[in-house]
């Protein structure tokens, strides 16, 4: 292990990952902004008006990336949960905890924009079809995970209990993804696939991919930010946290007389 160039296990400790996360965060913010601006520009000004759906389809540039991310973040969260259970690392549990709220927001956003899209296109805010329902279950799973973690005082126990819940719930993700294929319902099939050429204009596809990247980078940045806060909270008793510049600075500020 020691003859490797980078010892990845080194970063499994909150102490060594905290500064790394701090360094990576601005890059992800910047990338999120760049991709976001580019994606929105393509989405609003370059992509052509859809032949059947008119201008209303442009919500796809938010809806699809949010849905992708909601599923993807759950998978990543479950993966970290599994790693945390198997290798008993503290950081993995923190990572899962940091990802959950972002995933919940993505799931909510996906449902919300879906409702806005559904109203003009299908004439209804909501239908009980397989994909919508399973996405709603995903949202509930995120909420359950967050609630369970919040209810358990001991953070290590909270991590492990949450990990089991996350792993049990991971069954749902393939169901959402394949729901449009398995059940033939109101929700349209996916427009993007790896095996055949996409059924949409090139510019639309580019806009969507850029927005997906932007959402992805945003999620990374926010998750890292939250991870740093969680580390500070849980490691508050350690010397290295108390010697951090950002922890000491506010303490000095309070000493300044008003």
């Amino acid at each position: 292990m020691s003859n490797r160039i980078v010892n990845w296990f080194k970063f499994a400790s909150p102490y060594s990952f905290y500064p790394v996360a701090g360094k990576m965060m601005p890059w992800f913010w910047a990338l999120a902004a760049v991709f976001g601006v580019a994606g929105l520009w393509i989405g609003f000004f370059v992509a052509p008006t859809d032949a059947t759906q008119g201008e209303g389809y442009r919500i796809i540039f938010i809806h699809v990336p949010a849905s992708w991310l909601s599923m993807f973040i759950y998978l990543v969260m479950a993966m970290w949960a599994g790693i945390g259970l198997a290798l008993n690392t503290r950081l993995a549990g923190m990572m899962a905890q940091a990802l959950a709220p972002t995933g919940a927001i993505m799931a909510f956003l996906s449902l919300w924009t879906g409702a806005f899209w559904g109203k003009p296109m299908w004439g209804t805010w909501w239908v009980w079809d397989a994909r919508l329902t399973s996405e709603l279950i995903l949202f509930f799973l995120y909420l359950g995970f967050i609630a369970l973690q919040a209810a358990i005082d001991d953070p290590r126990r909270a991590d492990k209990a949450g990990a089991i819940l996350a792993l049990v719930g991971v069954v749902n993700v393939p169901i959402i993804y394949f729901s449009v294929k398995w059940w033939n319902t109101l929700h349209q099939g996916s427009s993007v696939s790896l095996t055949k050429s996409p059924s949409m204009a090139q510019t639309m596809l580019w806009g969507m991919l850029l927005m997906a990247l932007a959402f992805w980078m945003y999620s990374l940045a926010v998750a890292l930010k939250r991870l740093r806060t969680i580390i500070l909270e849980r490691e508050a008793h350690t010397d290295w946290v108390q010697n951090l510049a950002e922890v000491r600075a506010p303490a000095n500020l309070t000493e300044v007389p008003a």
Binding site: G144, L148, A151, D153, K160, L165, G169
Partner: protein, 218 residues
């Protein structure tokens, strides 16, 4: 495994009211719907499978916390974890006892309640078969939630938040089986999926429950 099962059954029999409360809860909840919606039999026939299934879901939830809570309180659970018998089998035994006490009576009662909703005999058969396949899944999956929320603040409400989303697939296929039957599509597909859920849950759920129990006893 059988010893644990017998012990749990015996305990449940000694405290009959708890079991009967869940059962009467099921009866009352399902009887409320015709009162609230009105006695129109065509409508009742349509909503019957959904109402009965939701009632079964909620009635199963009532007994879930009991599965581990009292054993946790008096230390029996820790002895079980320490015992040489694999915890998997002990948990499976407790699950089986929970199902016999809270699931099986629902299955037996469902046809009777279905008659209240004016279901025809064949639909009643499908409904009962679906419940027979589905209620063990509810017990097995619920046990995971019960083990996770053991000794946690506000465990009861949290338990329903964790477990109900995981119950949704069972609900969909269970109620769907009856609806598919009445619409002439045949219930075979839904029932097979329910059986598949049961097989999956039988294999994985006790395993997840043991892991959850070990965590809450740490």
């Amino acid at each position: 495994m059988l010893a644990v099962m017998r012990r749990d059954l015996l305990l449940a029999m000694r405290r009959k009211t708890e079991v009967l409360t869940a059962l009467f809860f099921f009866i009352i909840v399902t009887s409320l719907f015709p009162l609230g919606i009105g006695p129109e039999s065509a409508l009742l026939r349509k909503i019957a499978p959904g109402v009965l299934w939701v009632g079964a879901l909620l009635a199963t939830m009532l007994g879930l916390q009991r599965m581990f809570a009292s054993d946790h309180a008096d230390g029996t659970l820790e002895q079980m974890v320490l015992s040489p018998t694999p915890l998997f089998f002990l948990v499976a035994g407790k699950n089986a006892a929970h199902w016999l006490v809270s699931g099986l009576p629902l299955v037996v009662l469902a046809p009777l309640l279905g008659v209240q909703f004016d279901l025809d005999p064949e639909s009643l058969g499908v409904l009962t078969l679906g419940l027979l396949l589905g209620t063990p899944v509810l017990s097995l999956v619920g046990a995971i939630g019960a083990a996770l929320t053991l000794g946690v603040r506000g465990g009861g409400v949290l338990l329903s938040l964790l477990v109900l989303p995981l119950y949704i697939p069972t609900l969909i296929f269970g109620a769907g089986a009856v609806q598919a039957h009445t619409s002439g599509l045949g219930a075979g597909g839904h029932l097979s999926l329910l059986a598949a859920l049961l097989a999956m849950a039988l294999f994985f759920a006790p395993w997840a429950t043991t892991a959850a129990l070990r965590i809450s006893l740490e």
